[in-house]
Symmetry: C2
Subunit: 219 residues, 2 copies
Amino acid sequence: MLSQTQENYLKCIYKLSEEITEGATTNTIAEVLKTKAASVTSMLKKLASKKLIHYEKYQAVSLTAKGKKEALSIIRNHRLWEYFLVHKLNFNWDEVHDLAEELEHVNSDLLIKRLDMFLGFPKFDPHGDPIPDPNGKIVHLKALPLCECKTGDSVIISGVCEHSTEFLTYLKEKGLTLGKKITIEQIIPFDSSMKLLLNKKTSLFVSYKITQNILVQWA
Amino acid sequence: MLSQTQENYLKCIYKLSEEITEGATTNTIAEVLKTKAASVTSMLKKLASKKLIHYEKYQAVSLTAKGKKEALSIIRNHRLWEYFLVHKLNFNWDEVHDLAEELEHVNSDLLIKRLDMFLGFPKFDPHGDPIPDPNGKIVHLKALPLCECKTGDSVIISGVCEHSTEFLTYLKEKGLTLGKKITIEQIIPFDSSMKLLLNKKTSLFVSYKITQNILVQWA
DNA sequence: TAATTTTTTTTGATTAGTCTAAATTTATTT
DNA sequence: AAATAAATTTAGACTAATCAAAAAAAATTA
Ligand SMILES: [Mn+2]
Ligand SMILES: [Mn+2]
Ligand SMILES: [Mn+2]
Ligand SMILES: [Mn+2]
């Protein structure tokens, strides 16, 4: 049996391993989970002893097949609960992350199976993230960050990189929601900020940091 | 903030205090929560220091107003989740208790408010137990245990005292579900077991222990 | 290469919850 | 009232998860 804490570590390691950056190192894990490096080291030893991660002193860790399966199962739970909260309980997409963070740990395959059926087997969560199937299979959609687009491109918002309430609330208020079609009107070379055309009438300025965290697909 | 364990203790103390029996003593709490008396004592001290219970050495404990409010809130969560599992996810009434035991600890007033609305503000859970309102107000329905009925009585099953899977599965298999009308055909004086008339054709023998745990109302 | 900085691990403590065994208090018998 | 039994608390130890401070290793810089 895994504790809630251990499950959160696995999920964190999974996500860090997916990123292009330095990988799941002691410090980055500590930063993401808002804990201290010393705590991480001791947890890594525990996870290694349970054969959930590959751990070698001073090295970034990676998940074993077993650990990856666990991580994907929790991510599946998380995203299905988010879908439930948004589409059944009428929450906004910026309100559901913390709740799903707790619900994901209720461990029952049957519960998740029934929930999945009840929701109509959704493939994506409210933030555009793919929901792994019961076997942990996950589709990687070919989306690119808005910042990689050129002037004149017309694209559709298909996801976000950042899930904080502040960021999602901002997008919601500006009308930058999933499925929204936008056109890049102008890119300011100095700071790489963008002027977006939301519709015939309105345009919107966004910083580079914003464009880094919005994922789009070709319209 | 209360831990999951502390919430379970409060709920347990609430239920034991409601019963006609000896009340919430160290040993009974230990028995219900499947822990040891020593553990209970140390937890009682902690709950007392948080002003959640009245505790005096060697005496049965009782909830403070604050403690009672907490307990009723958790019971509300529990019963709403049970209702959800049965009426939305198609679980049977004998499958939901353990899941609700976990879901009840996801602490969010907004979540419960939305869930309540989504379910259509149910007043009773799948076992016939009343769901406390958001303020902790709870109706006490006037049901009596089947064992107190006399030969010839016609009654309707309105609840159960015992929530174990074994007991509920037994009732389900025998067709003794909520709302079922039954007539007491015969009471065996020797062991107080009953012969119940389920319909024109079929009757069923049940032990005294069974009749103690079925709650009924007059038909 | 040597010095410095950063990262990671170790050490020793803390808190929550639990347990066994022993001590104490309360209740029941004789 | 004394002896016995039952219930409860205390004492001491354990695991899981955490932290601060110190030590050690790795990476960087000079
Ligand atoms: Mn979580
Ligand atoms: Mn999401
Ligand atoms: Mn519980
Ligand atoms: Mn119930």
